[in-house]
């Protein structure tokens, strides 16, 4: 205060004004100066646990791209999708976007992602790098738009100590085995009520999850919730022997054999607490067990026929040097070393073929069921159609009602009626959207 007053006394007001103006101009000049010519790209991800992976990739690119700066913005999947909807349509989205095919299709239809340059397209189309399933998951109308990166995939988790106690030496190999094993593995109190479920089935909770898990089981019998015809349309056609077998297996386990109940703890936490002997889930459970129940004795096994897969690819938006840098980043993310790092440190499964997993499998044998599957193993995915979530939610509502109805367990005709109603409802939804196959 004093110094300012003194300054005022000693300097004329015009000099002060000039000094002030000079400072302001100086600051403005610095602010307006062009930024250093470093290239910056952003990566938007829907899986916060993947942020370290993208940062690892960026770190590895430093030698070849010293001026490239990569900003990773990862947020939970639903929020990522919301942010993307506005960001892409307004041109404010990141240059590298990680997205599952089922969500990416709507943006591909509207030309909001860049088509892959020739070298990247050739890389994706090379069968040595990706099988047809993953190539198609990154393509639209025969053109490659994305670089396949990782996937969600299911396998069976089973408690080896409980298997040993029940005299079981191998994991179940067909669906009939699953019920037999569940019976043998269920632990009961003096009244016969189950205290540890033999096989944790998804009987309650989020609608989409219930329908998806039912679909996984029905797929093992050779049937799907919806199937595509040659003309690209869809139809539900599971009210048959296979569909009945899948639903009947749930009902038998819940009501007849009582190997599991709706009220029992379920899913990964129940498995980690040894409240269930086996259940079907994605590979993330391995990391979860390592953190929460490191002493749990367990193993994994492939499913009898195949698994649901949610393929995720990297898509690029933007132009010029930014787009070029973005493609370079996507390609670097697909380097074998980086993909192995991804599996080892994050637990998501790379989509690229021909990777050498031996070192990782030695340390984490539970991953074998996810990456080391038989040649005949089949993958299926949620269809990329608008009403898919409504189909799953409505199916789940009917399934939940059926699971709670003991009268259905021994009545095949009643099970068939449930399946027909479920099928009709799905087909009505498909018809409403103009997607129903003849």
């Amino acid at each position: 205060m004093t110094s300012v007053s003194k300054l005022r006394r000693h300097l004329p007001a015009s000099a002060l004004r000039l000094a002030l103006l000079g400072s302001v101009m100086g600051i403005a000049a610095v602010a307006a100066a062009p930024a250093v010519s470093a290239q910056e790209i952003r990566v938007w991800s829907g899986y916060p646990e993947l942020a370290p992976f993208y940062e690892h990739v960026a770190e590895g690119m430093k030698a070849q791209h010293p001026d490239l700066s990569v900003k990773v913005e990862a947020i939970a999947l639903r929020e990522h999708e919301k942010r993307l909807a506005l960001g892409l349509t307004s041109g404010e989205a990141a240059e590298v976007i990680e997205l599952g095919t089922s969500t990416a299709t709507r943006y591909l239809e509207n030309g909001l992602f860049n088509a892959a340059p020739d070298d990247i397209a050739a890389f994706v189309q090379d069968p040595a790098n990706f099988n047809d399933f993953f190539r198609d998951s990154a393509s639209y109308d025969g053109t490659v738009y994305g670089l396949p990166l990782f996937r969600g995939q299911s396998a069976l988790y089973y408690n080896t100590e409980m298997f040993e106690a029940a005299g079981l030496t191998e994991p179940p190999t067909d669906m009939a085995d699953y019920t037999k094993y569940a019976e043998a593995l269920t632990q009961r109190d003096a009244n016969g009520a189950p205290t540890v479920s033999g096989w944790s089935l998804r009987l309650s909770g989020g609608g989409q999850g219930i329908a998806e898990k039912f679909w996984i089981n029905m797929f093992q019998y050779g049937e799907s919730l919806v199937e595509q015809d040659a003309a690209g349309k869809w139809k539900a056609d599971f009210a048959n022997e296979q569909g009945r077998a899948a639903l009947k297996q749930y009902l038998e386990n819940v009501h007849t054999l009582k190997t599991v109940t709706i009220e029992m703890p379920a899913d990964a936490e129940a498995f980690e607490r040894e409240q269930t002997a086996m259940f079907i889930r994605e590979s993330w459970v391995i990391g979860d067990i390592a953190a929460k129940a490191p002493d749990l004795s367990y193993a994994t096994a492939t499913l009898p026929r195949g698994s649901i897969v949610a393929p995720v690819s990297l898509w690029i938006s933007g132009e010029g040097a930014e787009a070029e840098a973005a493609w370079a980043f996507a390609q670097a993310a697909n380097e074998p070393d980086n993909l192995l790092w991804l599996l080892d440190n994050v637990g998501w499964l790379p989509n690229r073929s021909g990777l050498d997993y031996s070192a990782i499998l030695k340390a984490k044998p539970a991953l074998a069921a996810f990456v080391d599957y038989p040649d005949t193993y089949e993958f299926f995915s949620l269809p990329n159609i608008g009403p898919v979530e409504e189909i799953l939610t409505r199916t789940a509502a009917r399934l939940t009602e059926a699971f709670a109805n003991p009268a259905l367990a021994s009545d095949d005709a009643a099970i068939d009626a449930v399946l027909v109603a479920m099928q009709d409802e799905i087909n009505a939804l498909l018809q409403r959207e103009g997607l129903l196959a003849e």
Binding site: Y47, I75, K292
Partner: protein, 288 residues
């Protein structure tokens, strides 16, 4: 000598009343403890290891307390930056809402123009439009103004609160007589002088209540900050907390630690302004 029957019946009545009072106290105490339990678990979980988090039945006091979750949260995320962003956003939003509500509420209450009734009806009508409905055009507005990823972008959706205008208007009507304003005008006071020296001081209670509501509205906002702030450094704390969710699970230890840290500013504000908050709840019928 036998006791007076009326005295005995009075004693019995007093005993019964005491018993009823104590029973009510006990029930309220149990409910209070139950209400506090989630908060206790939130803090407790912040100090648990992943293994202990899985323990069944859950422990209230951690067996092997650890500060790893707090350390990880503070090291791996710009949590303090997010808290700062939230505080700045909430404070500026509160000031803006107080300013717009007091000016608009006063004008709508005390100035007699037919068009003002139409404007007031429009203000009331906007109160029933959910924010999500006009969020998308607002986003494009922010984009065209070049204020995405900035505090100004955050504020764009939180400058005016139609309920605040309504609240102040009703308070002005009920607590400031026309005669008082007329007397000031006759004494030569200008409109600005009247507004700042007479109206605002008389609205102190209502503005305090509105301030608390506006602060918590901005503090707990999620959808708008999430879409308008896409840079990690520009996140508010509500958006930042979403990062503790992974693809299929929630990192409960770190989320609890972060939430416990985040509670500190909001609890402090509540303690400081609890009287205004109670008044705000009482005058709005808000249940939360």
């Amino acid at each position: 000598m036998s006791a007076n029957p009326s005295t005995q019946s009075g004693k019995r009545r007093r005993m019964r009343k005491l018993l009823v009072d104590r029973s009510i106290d006990l029930i309220l105490l149990v409910f209070s403890l139950l209400m506090l339990l989630p908060l206790v678990f939130l803090v407790s979980n912040g100090f648990k290891t992943p293994q202990e988090m899985l323990a069944w039945p859950p422990t209230i006091i951690p067996a092997n307390p650890t500060i790893d979750n707090f350390a990880a949260v503070l090291q791996d995320t710009p949590l303090l930056r997010w808290i700062f962003n939230s505080i700045l956003f909430a404070v500026l939003s509160t000031l803006a809402i107080l300013a717009t509500s007091s000016i608009a509420g006063y004008i709508l209450a005390k100035f007699r123009y037919r068009s003002l009734n139409v404007i007031f009806a429009l203000v009331l009508a906007t109160a029933i439009v959910p924010f999500e409905v006009y969020m998308i055009p607002l986003y494009f507005q922010a984009q065209s103004m070049g204020i995405l990823n900035s505090i100004w972008g955050l504020l764009l959706g939180y400058l005016v609160m139609s309920f605040g205008i309504f609240l102040i208007r009703q308070n002005v009507i009920h607590s400031i007589p026309d005669e008082l304003l007329e007397a000031a005008r006759i004494d030569g006071a200008g409109e600005l002088w009247i507004f700042f020296r007479i109206v605002l001081p008389l609205l102190r209670g209502a503005l305090g209540a509105l301030g608390v509501l506006a602060f918590f509205q901005a503090w707990t906002a999620f959808a708008w900050p999430m879409i308008v702030a896409t840079n990690r450094e520009a996140y508010t704390i509500e958006v930042g907390l979403a990062l503790f969710q992974t693809g299929f699970t929630v990192d409960l230890g770190r989320l609890s630690a972060a939430s416990a840290l985040v509670l500190i500013p909001s609890i402090s504000l509540f303690v400081i302004l609890r009287r205004n908050f109670v008044q705000g709840v009482a005058s709005t019928g808000l249940k939360e």
